[in-house]
């Protein structure tokens, strides 16, 4: 065997297009050159630079060129699974991908990863929540490598106004994996000549992170709302694990309408207080959300609160500068009809449906930071006083009662079915077309699955499974195709059975 010579150090960088992974790679190569070591980098940018995932690969040979004479090491162009000394991932799922591809070895690899998430389009576009399991990825990243340096580099960089790649370079230097003096890294940044001071500051911060000199901010504790005095007794009557949800629900409904409406909330929950805790918790949560459904009144109210303008200012980093806030509102005919009294709203809605105009709306651009815009929003918000007489309010209350009755009845025979019914209003969300589609899915499942399951002698467990399946189908695609297919298949099966 001839293999007694030193091995090159291998560094793999996984990043997303536009994050500065190329610059980070150049800094590493330059730092190696400043230290007199042979180094080679390569990458596969191609179109991956357009926001996709990509990797950069660097090899550094630990013997100075000066000592090599005429010999030169042959350096690789591909990372080798199991043979990476330093794995750098600028994002959590990319760290996960590196691990799955075998680039993080328990014997050899130091993993430097930012724990923040940049969601992929397929995660973002889901109708519910289909995000990758971040907790699991964090655990894996902490336990698999020989050594792990994990921190939210993105948040660090943003709050301190630093560049992510410079922070990562500092962390790389601080990890001590590479045989390069700090001055070589700093020289690389200086020589590149772009935003030198900012990048040196980022580098210094990353260095402190790697050395454990930066304490992480503590998690914010969840805030338990105070239950209004008038409701303390009623709230305490519920099992301990439900009280928090009930408290949130009460606060929300007082804010949404008034104390009477909150009282109705508690009254509606009371018949379910003997149900399984999981069912009750879900029902309490869904009931509060449903009773505070979003109508034009609610939206105008939320958009014209002082804390909202403050929030917009903070997000836009406006500080104390003058600001315009343009709200994109497009109330459709059904949304207008829904806040009108039933006697007026119903004919308007029917007309709109006949003319197929429900998709249409009046596009409005309201400057919520202007006086006229603000006053308009406040006037709309004040319609709260007549909400109880509105078309939609009446319709929603009826549907709520029907749903509550179904849970009550189901909880006598099948906890699973009651639980599945309790989560069903989760389909009713959004505005306009989205809202109509969600309501259709809900009604379809109520009619096809829930109602038959409540008949005497029906198989509650089977119905619960079908309901969960239907719920998932309703969220599978925005056109409701999957749900329609499922219902059609069920009908065909039922007919065959008969």
């Amino acid at each position: 065997m001839t293999n007694t010579s030193p091995k090159p150090l291998s560094i793999l960088i996984a990043a997303l297009g536009g994050e500065g992974g190329g610059v980070l790679t150049d800094w590493l190569v330059a730092a190696a050159h400043h230290a007199g070591l042979p180094a080679q980098s390569t990458s596969i940018p191609g179109v991956a630079q357009r926001t996709g995932a990509t990797t950069y690969y660097v090899e550094i040979f630990p013997v100075p060129i000066a000592e090599l004479g005429t010999r030169r090491p042959v350096l690789g162009l591909y990372p080798v699974a199991g043979a990476i000394d330093l794995m750098v991932a600028s994002e959590l799922v990319e760290a996960g991908r590196a691990m799955r591809n075998g680039f993080v070895s328990p014997e050899r690899t130091t993993l430097i990863a930012s724990t923040h998430r940049v969601y992929a389009t397929i995660e973002k576009m889901a109708m519910g929540d289909e995000r990758a399991d971040a907790a699991r990825l964090r655990k894996a990243a902490a336990s698999l490598p020989k050594r792990a340096i994990l921190f939210d580099a993105k948040a660090d960089a943003e709050t301190r106004r630093l560049q992510l790649n410079a922070v990562l370079l500092g962390t790389i230097a601080g990890s001590g994996v590479l045989p390069l003096p700090l001055s070589a890294f700093e020289q690389a940044i200086r020589e590149a000549g772009k935003a030198v001071d900012g990048n040196l500051a980022g580098f210094a911060h990353g260095l402190r992170v790697a050395r454990g000199e930066v304490s992480l901010p503590p998690d914010e504790p969840s805030v338990m709302p105070t239950v209004p005095p008038a409701f303390v007794d009623a709230a305490q009557a519920f099992p301990a694990e439900v009280v928090e949800i009930v408290a949130h629900g009460l606060a929300r409904l007082i804010d949404y309408q008034d104390a009477d409406y909150a009282r109705l909330y508690v009254q509606r929950l009371q018949p379910l207080s003997q149900a399984a805790p999981a069912v009750l918790t879900e029902a309490a949560r869904q009931l509060a959300l449903w009773m505070s459904y979003e109508d034009v009144i609610r939206v105008a109210d939320l958009k014209s609160r002082p804390e909202r303008l403050a929030q917009v200012r903070a997000e836009a980093r406006a500080g104390d500068l003058p600001i315009r806030v343009v709200d994109y509102l497009k109330p459709g005919i059904d949304e207008v009809a829904s806040v009108l009294p039933a006697a007026l709203g119903r004919p308007l809605l029917a007309w709109g449906e006949r003319r197929d105009l429900l998709d249409r709306g009046v596009p409005l651009r309201i400057n919520a930071a202007s006086i006229t815009g603000f006053v308009l929003l406040r006037v709309l918000a004040r319609l709260k006083a007549v909400r109880r007489r509105s078309l939609r309010f009446i319709a929603e209350q009826q549907a709520i009662e029907q749903w509550l009755a179904a849970i009550s009845q189901a909880s006598r025979t099948s906890v699973a079915l009651a639980g599945a019914i309790a989560m069903l209003p989760g389909l009713r969300k959004g505005y306009g077309d989205t809202q109509r589609r969600g309501r259709r899915s809900y009604e379809l499942l109520m009619e096809r699955v829930v109602m038959p399951a409540l008949r005497p002698g029906a198989d509650g467990e089977a119905a619960a499974r079908r309901l969960v399946e239907g719920y998932k189908a309703a969220l599978a695609d925005p056109e409701g195709q999957r749900l329609n297919q499922l219902v059609a298949a069920e009908m065909a099966r039922d007919m065959a059975a008969e």
Binding site: M1, V93, P322, G432
Partner: protein
């Protein structure tokens, strides 16, 4: 162009003895100048765009050397330009992305190869095969064989690249044959160094020793009977001369090793990867000294029978490391051995995959299987097996920890891209006229075939969407929509698509996405670019269409989703026959930001009034349905944990990188989505009026909100 390549051009100017340090593709560019080329042409594409970009910016340097540079209309144009070397002693190079570019160029290439050359003709091919590639997986090797052009696949090392480019010109001249050189994507982006030589001026140019007598030789024309003579010349003269040149100049490299019973033959481009696998198994040292003898084929076509035979003779088994399929090399080597009656066992695709990229791990696994099968003397097979077992165990453990499939992350439209709204509109317009067949094209627009748009049924090539539509349209109850970028339009769409559609009176809809550049390859100027090269005249897409007889043309600002949707509906439903073209216009946001960002920074610094726009989502009114994302997919429109304690689904959220393109608000309006979007306009360096109005507004709103009263009470 918004970018400057001054640094790169300085590298190209380096002289004798200076050390070049930079990317592989730039080293290749420098080598062309050192070899004394008279002309360079090409068409952009990864991984060779950089060569085009830098030379396009290096007018002074090229003028000094008397080198003609041309950004050709397409690869066929570049290949045709090599015709300059048919009659004259002019060295020239053409460059493009293979194999797609080679496909486009192949008509000219066949003619060039048949006629043969006097001056060295070199075709630099960027090979983009495997992981992350955006093109079909085919081999350039087949083109080299069928047209008889020599194919070099150099060992990845800057000095070797540079030397072989010089040799390739000599080979071309010695054998009257064009030479192809393929460079893999990782090699093009490889950072390395070499010692420079002075650049050589072109042999003939307007400036220096111009040609005066055209060389008119019917023997160089590809018509009978010349073509029969040319074909004979290929096999009787050119091939033997090439073989002799390759042998006498030692273009291939033989590395002997301590073991003599086995050996490895490899494509030069895979050398480093094979060495790395050998190192992994303890069979090579850091400097590439291998226990197993290696024959490194820097020339993969033609093969030297003597060299192959000499290498294989006396060995029990030889491993052929050859990427891609069909296994042209393995078949050729096998035939050579059979004819020479050498009974060495040849193993290639039996232990290495037939298709797919030869990554380090792939090669390592193949190598271990080869060693296990050939049982060479003195190699510890147990240790080799252990290496793989450890790798498998580590992967298994990682899979256990990490769990199921991770969300894939393909490339997509950039933040604020003007192409995104076009596809938002196409998706929305399907609500009006139902689902339609969409003929997609090459370029950034291809990203629309992915989530969240899934807009596109077929891709047939660059600029071919419209040409691919008529037969489908004939079978459908409604019109077909073809989409192409402005790059595709000029590359082939105008000639192949539009003229064909007008001539055949095709009743079809074409959407041209005009963002001002060939963007997917890095914002190169195209004929209709406003920031064109060297003051070239700007060609108009509308004028081109009109002149071909297209009567129905609508130009829509690409961000106007509502108008685009209405225009699409009109195009799909109008009673008018013929071709209907919608031009969606909006500048590439990457290019725009490159210009706008520094300008804004300067204004801010100078204290000038700047209105900065950022979109946002009110988490309190967002119900977490994400319809907005399904109509956008913008990187800055993302999701975050729902701050509402009662809600579970994540809410939409706009990150700080938002460039304020306006799509979010437009889509919210056009689709009637949801009232959660807002646009914040922050006025930096406000004037007295801005400040006064703001103060008045804030005070009034505070007072109306009652906050003021509360304060007074407090």
């Amino acid at each position: 162009m918004e970018r400057s390549f001054a640094k790169e051009i300085a590298l190209l100017r380096q002289g004798d003895g200076e050390v070049f340090e930079g990317e592989g593709i730039l080293a290749i560019t420098k080598a062309l100048l050192q070899a004394g080329v008279s002309y360079i042409g090409g068409y952009q594409g990864a991984p060779v765009s950089h060569l085009m970009d830098v030379l396009g910016d290096a007018r002074d340097l090229l003028d000094d050397l008397g080198v003609h540079f041309e950004a050709n209309a397409n690869e066929a144009g570049a290949a045709a330009m090599l015709g300059a070397s048919i009659n004259y002693p002019l060295r020239g190079a053409a460059v493009w992305k293979s194999t797609v570019g080679t496909n486009v160029a192949s008509d000219a290439l066949s003619n060039l190869a048949s006629a043969g050359v006097i001056g060295g003709a070199l075709i630099i091919l960027g090979e983009d095969y495997g992981e992350g590639s955006s093109i079909i997986q085919e081999r350039t090797h087949a083109f080299a064989m069928k047209s008889q052009m020599w194919l070099l696949d150099p060992r990845p090392d800057h000095a070797r690249f540079v030397e072989l480019i010089e040799r390739a010109f000599e080979l071309s001249e010695a054998s009257n044959t064009p030479v192809m050189m393929e460079f893999r994507i990782r090699a093009c982006h490889m950072h390395g160094r070499f010692v420079c030589k002075d650049n050589k001026p072109a042999a003939h140019s307007k400036r220096h020793d111009p040609l005066v007598d055209p060389n008119r030789d019917y023997g160089r024309i590809c018509l009978p009977p010349s073509i029969y003579v040319q074909e004979k010349h290929k096999v009787e003269v050119r091939l033997p001369r090439a073989l002799q040149f390759i042998a006498s100049h030692g273009l291939n490299e033989r590395f002997d090793g301590a073991r003599d019973d086995i050996g490895i033959i490899l494509q030069g481009g895979l050398y480093n990867t094979v060495i790395r696998a050998l190192q992994q198994l303890g069979l090579a040292d850091a400097f590439g000294a291998s226990d197993i003898p290696i024959l490194c084929l820097n020339v993969t076509y033609p093969l030297l029978p003597d060299e192959i035979e000499a290498f294989c003779r006396g060995k029990r088994a030889v491993l052929m490391v050859e990427e891609g399929q069909p296994d042209h090399l393995e078949q050729a080597v096998g035939a050579l051995l059979r004819k020479a009656a050498i009974d060495t066992t040849l193993v290639g695709k039996a232990v290495l995959p037939m298709a797919g990229e030869y990554t380090a791990e792939t090669v390592l696994r193949g190598l271990v299987r080869f060693l296990e099968g050939s049982v060479p003397h003195g190699i510890d097979l147990v240790a080799a097996g252990r290496e793989l077992a450890a790798l498998d165990a580590a992967k298994e453990r990682a899979a256990e920890l990490v769990g199921d499939e991770l969300p894939r992350r393909p490339p997509g439209f950039c933040t604020g891209c003007p192409e995104r709204p076009v596809f938002s509109a196409l998706k929305l317009a399907e609500r009006d006229y139902g689902k339609v067949h969409v003929a997609a094209d090459i370029g950034c627009t291809t990203f629309a075939t992915l989530e969240p748009f899934h807009m596109g049924n077929t891709v047939l090539g660059y600029g071919f969407s419209l040409a691919s539509a008529p037969a489908v349209a004939h079978a459908f109850d409604k019109r077909v929509i073809s989409v192409m970028g402005d790059g595709g339009f000029w590359h082939n769409g105008l000639a192949t698509g539009v003229s064909g559609a007008v001539f055949n009176q095709t009743d079809s809809v074409l959407v041209i996405v005009d963002n001002g550049y060939a963007s997917a390859t890095g914002q190169q100027a195209i004929p209709s670019s406003s920031s064109n090269r060297q003051g070239a005249p700007k060609l108009s897409i509308e004028a081109a269409l009109t002149s071909l007889g297209v009567r129905w043309i609508e130009v829509v600002r690409s961000y106007d989703v509502g108008k685009m949707r209405r225009t699409l509906r009109k195009a799909m439903t109008t009673a008018k026959g013929g071709l209907k073209v919608i031009i969606a216009r909006g500048e590439c946001q990457l290019a725009r930001q490159r210009r706008v960002k520094p300008a804004t920074a300067r204004k801010l610094q100078a204290g000038e009034r700047v209105v900065r726009t950022k979109f946002g989502v009110d988490a309190s009114t967002c119900t977490g349905d994400h319809s907005c994302i399904r109509l956008s997919g913008c990187p800055t429109l993302t999701i975050k944990d729902n701050p509402d304690p009662l809600r579970r689904d994540p809410v939409a959220h706009v990150t700080e990188d938002c460039v304020g393109c306006g799509l979010c608000g437009n889509v919210a309006h056009a689709a009637g989505l949801c009232p959660s979007f807002h646009r914040a306009e922050v006025i930096h360096n406000p004037g007295a009026f801005d400040r006064g109005l703001d103060r008045l507004r804030r005070k009034t709103i505070d007072w109306l909100s009652g906050a003021r009263r509360a304060e007074m009470a407090g």
